[in-house]
Amino acid sequence: MIIRILGQGQFEVKSSLFDELNVIDNRIVEYVTKGDEKEYKKGLAELIGLILREGKKVPDEELIESSVIVPPNDMTLKEARQIFSSEGIFKG
């Protein structure tokens, strides 16, 4: 499974990692809803750390699509909230 961490490129991970990522993802959503910045940041760092640890960097020469897109590691809680609202954080 190919994962793109925005700002860092693509990583290939075992598909079995998906469930683990999902669990962290759900927790992050909870923190964003609650507005808990500290836990949100920790969750995002954990998510990205897991991918970097378990994944293999996809060579720059590869032109492939990713199945999962992970936000940049410095995305703020405010930006995350905008992603969830219809405003959209990043102009289309």
Binding site: L21, D25, D60, L63, P71, I89
Partner: protein, 232 residues
């Protein structure tokens, strides 16, 4: 919906916009290639901009460090002349300046990170563009429109996704640089008018009060240090 799903949707929307309505993929290939080169230029401009901003902050920092040293000297002279009141005044200003220097250090390191990210993005993108160019030429030479469509689809989505990613990185780096530019202009003004001690950083009233208390104890300990160095 999960954060990853939302993020995926944001990127898909961007990719679709980049791919647009392609009819004969062979023509779209050239058009996309032009876009890729434009984007590469944008990354280069972005890097230059971040570098300039960083240099500006470094200059500002050097200026502030110099004033801090000067004030320290004045405090010493004041102690020699038995004017503790003047020494205290100098140290008050010095503490205010030192906290600005700390703030600048943080901003400089943020810009450094942005710079590194963009340099890495430039490297990735330029490699991918080169691969894309080769593929595009092969496909144009060997395949009919229908076949080309199939052959190019994945590489096309792949490079478009990279373009969406890089475009976003540039946008974010720009907004960070803009923010710092505004703050740095405000700081410049304060340095010039010499009213730096009035500069109240953001934060709630409690934080500001706490900062004052910490500042006060810093002033006292600096005063004690200078006094003992002067043998007084």
């Amino acid at each position: 919906m999960s954060l990853l799903n939302r993020m995926g949707a944001v990127i898909t929307a961007k990719v679709n916009k980049i791919i647009g309505g392609m009819e004969d993929p062979r023509e779209t290939l050239d058009y996309s290639y032009e876009k890729q080169l434009d984007l590469l230029q944008n990354v280069k401009r972005g890097i230059a901009e971040v570098t300039t901003s960083k240099k500006r902050l470094e200059l500002q920092k050097a200026k502030l460090v110099q004033s801090s040293e000067k004030l320290e000297g004045q405090a010493r002279d004041a102690i020699q002349a038995n004017r503790e009141d003047l020494a205290r005044l100098a140290l008050e200003r010095k503490t205010a300046i030192d906290s600005q220097v700390e703030g600048l250090d943080r901003e400089i390191s943020t810009l450094e990170t942005e710079q590194e990210k963009l340099v890495a993005a430039e490297r990735r993108l330029s490699t991918k563009i080169e691969v894309f160019r080769t593929k595009k030429e092969t496909i144009k030479a060997q395949y009919s429109a229908a076949e080309a469509q199939v052959r190019i689809n994945e590489s096309f989505s792949g490079i478009s996704e990279e373009m969406a990613d890089v475009g976003m990185s540039i946008e974010r780096a720009e907004s960070k640089t803009e923010e710092m530019k505004a703050r740095s202009a405000a700081l410049d003004e304060l340095i010039e008018t010499g009213t730096l001690e009035d500069f109240t950083s953001q934060g709630d009233p409690i934080e500001r009060e706490l900062a004052k208390v910490t500042g006060q104890s810093k002033i006292e300990s600096e005063l004690a240090r200078i006094k003992s160095e002067a043998g007084k």
